[in-house]
Symmetry: none
Subunit: 372 residues, 2 copies
């Protein structure tokens, strides 16, 4: 019965649940026009890395140095982007949706070209990484997110968005444009024969799951023109969607096929049970200054009034020759190695000295009440 159904589907739509080998643009010419319901694309980021990078302990960072991420110029990258977006556009149904993920190296170029080609941006979604790689040289902010653009084929498309499902998924408040998810690590990360990561940029299944649950229906055909290790296919199968992948390297195709074959689709009813977890917001000391609860120049004291420190505008404290965070200065004035500045330092208020921790709790309550 299942075999019969499959045979009918194949005759009807011969490109479901297959991986096409080859260059993205050429391979997409084999697909019929207006045949896919959703596209998820993870194109090369054009990182433009120059030289190696080591951690402070001198270990080497395993960076993306593959040939597929090398472009001679922005113009070359733009031409590449325009070509694959046009090829993808041809096979999209009129109401199909498109997702593209990238970083600041490439996402602005992708977004501008998308708009130039007539795609209609619906949201930009920020994937906030709960465990990003730190900045090892201390010369920039920690690059802790990637950006996804969600677009329809045109401004008047009747795209799919499962609003109610997303709201239920998110504890009955609207799903926001910033998603907190961990990197793909541990057992989920595919390894090669030597135990090294198979693919340098494997995306977490939770990310794809949220994309497919939000913007596709069961039975939809999902295209991934940069299939890689097959995360899109694995999640599509698990969630009762079909997939078409395009990939150039046979090693990735082999790994993806084995991976997808091992996936057990979940019962449709179980889709309802997925829930996102919400982390308690961490509030740094600087936020108290930004919120106006502590003024630059304010004097902090410890509970017994033995130590004093002055608050600087940048969120550091000064006490005599000591300078640094509330924790560092708290430790220094006591001659300790460590100190919890939140409970050690107090600020004068009408009701007496209040620990910083109490102000932080107040801010946390306010933010929770505001839905943050």
């Amino acid at each position: 019965m299942a075999a019969l159904r499959e045979a009918v589907r194949q005759a009807d739509a011969p490109f479901e649940n297959v991986i096409l080998k080859g260059d993205c643009v050429a391979a997409l010419e084999r697909l019929p026009k207006a045949s896919v319901d959703l596209v998820f694309a993870d194109p090369p980021y054009n990182l433009q890395l120059d030289g190696g990078l080591t951690r402070p302990d001198q270990s080497v960072v395993d960076a993306v140095d593959d040939d597929w991420d090398k472009f001679a110029s922005f113009a070359d990258y733009d031409a590449f982007t325009r070509a694959w977006l046009l090829a993808v556009r041809r096979v999209m149904k009129p109401d199909a949706g498109l997702w593209v993920i990238g970083s600041y190296h490439n996402i602005f170029r992708v977004g501008a070209i998308l708009q130039d080609l007539g795609f209609w941006i619906l949201n930009d979604i920020v994937w906030r990484k709960s465990n990003p790689m730190p900045n090892f040289r201390g010369r920039r902010f920690t690059n802790a997110h990637e950006t996804m653009i969600w677009a329809a084929k045109s401004a008047d498309a009747r795209y799919t968005f499962n609003y109610e499902a997303m709201k239920a998924f998110n504890d009955d408040v609207q799903m926001r444009s910033d998603w907190l998810l961990p990197l793909c690590t541990g057992a989920e990360r595919l390894k090669d024969g030597a135990g090294r990561k198979l693919h340098p940029t494997q995306k977490p299944e939770a990310l794809l799951a949220r994309v497919l649950l939000a913007s596709s229906k069961p039975g939809d055909l999902v295209l991934d023109p940069f299939f890689g290790s097959g995360t899109t296919g694995a999640v599509a199968k698990r969630l009762g969607r079909s997939y078409v992948g395009v990939e150039r390297e046979q090693a990735y195709i082999d790994a993806a096929e084995a991976r997808i074959a091992a996936v057990e689709p979940i019962a449709p009813a179980a889709l309802q049970l997925l829930r996102g977890k919400r982390a308690e917001p961490r509030i740094p000391f600087g936020t108290l200054i930004e919120a106006g609860l502590v003024a630059p120049g304010a004097i902090l004291v410890d509970a017994r009034g033995r130590h004093r420190a002055e608050v600087s505008a940048d969120g550091t404290l000064r006490s005599g020759a000591h300078r640094g965070s509330i924790h560092r200065v708290g430790a220094a004035v006591q001659g300790f190695d460590a100190c919890n500045g939140w409970t050690f330092w107090h600020i004068e208020a009408a009701s007496g000295a209040v620990p910083l921790d109490a102000l932080r709790q107040k801010l946390r309550d306010d933010m929770a009440a505001a839905g943050g």
Copy 2:
């Protein structure tokens, strides 16, 4: 009186703490080349609102369903963006930084043009709004963030980044690329005579404060080419920075001037930057020998006692066949390319093994106490 004050200010530093009235590009021609340290720009992104398209000059685009007109409109916006970015680029010092804030309507075009003009993106920063406006029609994700691009004028620029201050601000972990901050509401939001909000997109002062604290020094000149209600000027004055604004509408200029006049600057002592080791005066290892803190012939060991080296009178170390600076020999004995000899090597003292870095710090403290 105001005119006199203005004249004096002009003589002293002709373009500090003023608002230039007029079109952004034309007004910037009045500023000298390479004169500003930092730029914060909140350009208009009046595209695609309510299905209608308007050009940057507010003229209405006809026939919004027409693909050609969409192209024309994007092209107009791109030309506008290129023009003001070029004008800004001219007045930036070689090591100046640039911030641009926008949403998915415009930020991709701005980012791509930035790169085309030779700016070097350092981070894209996501402002996560703790209290965003909900999505009323339930057809998209709640648009809960805006994007800021932080860029240097060129790839080899030595831009300002107060890494240590940001880290202390954030409870001693690196500041990430996603910032959670509330919208500008309540008393901070400027109102017009009728109690309506004065400016449609007034940014919160906390956002500007973090930008200026991260990427400028006290006394720096900050340019805002789309001054609006003057948030950049107000925060700059409060944080001991100078500002130049450009604004077309007199109503905004009047409101901004009154607003900035009421700002009380923070005491300079509370503005001192937290200096990291990088900013400390350099002390060669030989100085420790000259000061008698390390004797020629002394034996150095690493923290775990695995490696030993002998100090020569000329400030080099010897360990087996290895000979050279504390850094070279530290790297060689470990088989690494690099090593920080100050933290790697220890010397025996009554209280146990002390890193060379502690001796160096003692020397620095002594020199500071001596007024050196």
